[in-house]
Amino acid sequence: MKENQVKRFVWKLLLLLFPFTLVLGYPLFVILMSGETIPVTIAAKLQQGSSKDFLYGPAFRDKRSAFKLYTTLLCKPKILILGTSRVMQFRQPVFLSRDVYNAGGGVTYLWEYKKFLQALPSEQKPKILIMGLDQWQFNEHWKPEKFREEVDEWGNLNAAPVMNMLFNKWKEIYKYYFQGRISSIKLFSNLFEFRGIGLSAVVENRGFRRDGSYRYAEMNQEKWEKRFEDAFDRIEKGSDIFTYAKDIDQNRVSILKDFLNYCHEEKIEVIAFLPPFSSEVYERLKDKEQGYAYIFKIHRELEPLFHSHHFTFCDFTNLAWLHASDEETIDGFHGSEKAYLRILIELC
């Protein structure tokens, strides 16, 4: 009698869950095969410990800051490159030293630079810091809530709960599948010829290399021709990183000043620069000079802060100043690796 009840229960439970299993089965396969839920710390260890240089490119979980910090702790570089996505193009092979790590993408807000360095033990602090400072970090109207109090950006370094990711991302996975962006064969073959950790790395060959630099996915002709449109659109609307402002925010200048003092105390030599916009985007910013007046004041106002510590600070806001054309861009505010080679040459 009890056995019949149990059987009846199990059959009805299976009947209830079967349709959902069908729907969620493929997304679960994608998540597990791509290694999306592998903890950041394990991914960093695998990448640094492997003889093969594979990519780390998760699609659904942005733990860049934690990944870069943890890898920096593993690598203990003498030369550290730090900034947002606009420094991710520097590659270790162009340096004479092997002791270089690109922690680009590890910070987003000005106060995070110091937080990043403070997380490194004294004996692991870099000797040289190459840092990119995004122009909008000095815009008081850009993300003011992130500057009111510190936010814990490191977050949870452990494995992402598979079920959370599954329920949150299953629709996106099907969308990518029907767009032809997910190849089940590539996912399955990743078990045998390991290409990377994370969906972007496995199917689009896009992600962070072992030296911390970022490999972007190939662009088709249509995407190439429209690569500045997003920036133009944001400039027209005055939104996001292109929010209008007349003056530099002095509070943020104070944060930078405090950071430079910290580097001076820790005997870290700082080489800083303002990363380039494409020439076309720069011209649009100039056309709206009233809206972006603060951008054209940054170098003049900040240079004395660097000079007082004998640090270097260069302004590469317009790509054309590097004698580069807009062919050397990925989009309106990210230069290509060639453009960043030019930056390195100038910094030297």
Binding site: K2, Q5, V6, R8, F9, K12, L16, L17, P19, F20, L24, E145, P161, M163, N164, M165, F167, N168, W170, K171
Partner: protein, 446 residues
Amino acid sequence: MYFVPAYILILGGTIVLDYFLGIQIEKRGGAIRKYFFLVSLASNVGVLAFFKYANFIADNFNVFSRYSGVGYSLPYLSILLPIGLSFHTFQAMSYIIEVYRGNQKAERHFGIYALYVMFYPQLVAGPIERPQNLLHQFREKHDFNYERVTQGLKLMAWGLFLKVVVADRMALLVDRIYNDPYHHAGPALTLATLLFAIQIYCDFCGYSTIAVGAAKVMGFDLMQNFNRPYQATSIADFWRRWHISLSTWFKDYVYFPLGGNRTSQLRWAFNILIVFTLSGLWHGASWTFIIWGLLHGFYMIVGAWVQPLRLYVEEKVGLNYWPSFRLFLQNSVVVALVSFAWIFFRANSFEDAFYIVTHLGTGWNSVLQFPTLGKFARLFDLSKQTIILAAFAATVLVVAERIQPKQLFSNFTFPAYIRWTGYYLLVGAILFLGYWGGDQFIYFQF
């Protein structure tokens, strides 16, 4: 709040102590019996006070010391709150009090007593059980029973729906406003407050329902912790429906020993304020929680004192002839008062709460300017889809509360095709409409 493995020793320590003291209290008589009782209470309250209130006490003492020139500061402790401390402490105290009163025999089996305190479905967020209800169930055999297991699973599914589909969706809207209230005016602040009322109910009721359902699957019956509180017609009625296990705990172990309502009016009012202040403090070590508790105490006192006047006015106006409208009015007043008090519960600081309270009436002329969904969504800086999902979830909740019998799912005698459609829709809603962004249960922080 974190899970720290070493903290299991705290739980273990209090279990061992209360197990031993419970037996001694039953065995002994006279002063030594009372002594053991007080030791048990002191150890439970002491552990709770240390982990939960040490820094709050230090904070307030230091402010007092600064202004009075005492010149001495208490140190702040870097300690984490053990998971479910407030709940299992109260459950353990309930056991000791009932043994002391002679209403419950002391449990001789250590494992069963430990299980009573640590019963996992209700360990972290209640319901706070009584020994008379729970202890004997651990001695009974629980065979597999199809109806009971399916009933339990239905409760768990409903609880999960309340949590991930309703509460967590509301949280997206509420957090936008409450985490930065200074950039919002009356309409947004009011709406966020009302949505928080839904959020906290669904969050806590959802968890309780999952706990009751999980226990039921294993054959155990836990007490009902919520009974459609937003259908209350008075504040007293609200507290008979909201977090029933906690409110009855305070009633039986604080309010009645203080004299209850068998005292003078003034003393009764004092008893009410004590109980609700302690209730506020139980919820959190912050002045905003204390103010929240005091507000409810104030509501109870004023509600009782103006009742004769209210009845007189209702009779004069003729509300007695429209009982449904009268109930609707009463219910609306209760929801408004309770929602107002939630401002202090949710606000991140006293300053934030004060700002919200003083700006509820501002900016209402602009409400006519955002009648479209798009403008409304921009108010919360969220997508239209999120707003629609939140509205849908709230509607399902309201309808379900109206049509369900007192015991959820206990009387579902619909035809199989209707029931199974409902099951598929419920599971589908949980999986596909739920917000799985990782928000923990609000009451986990207690």
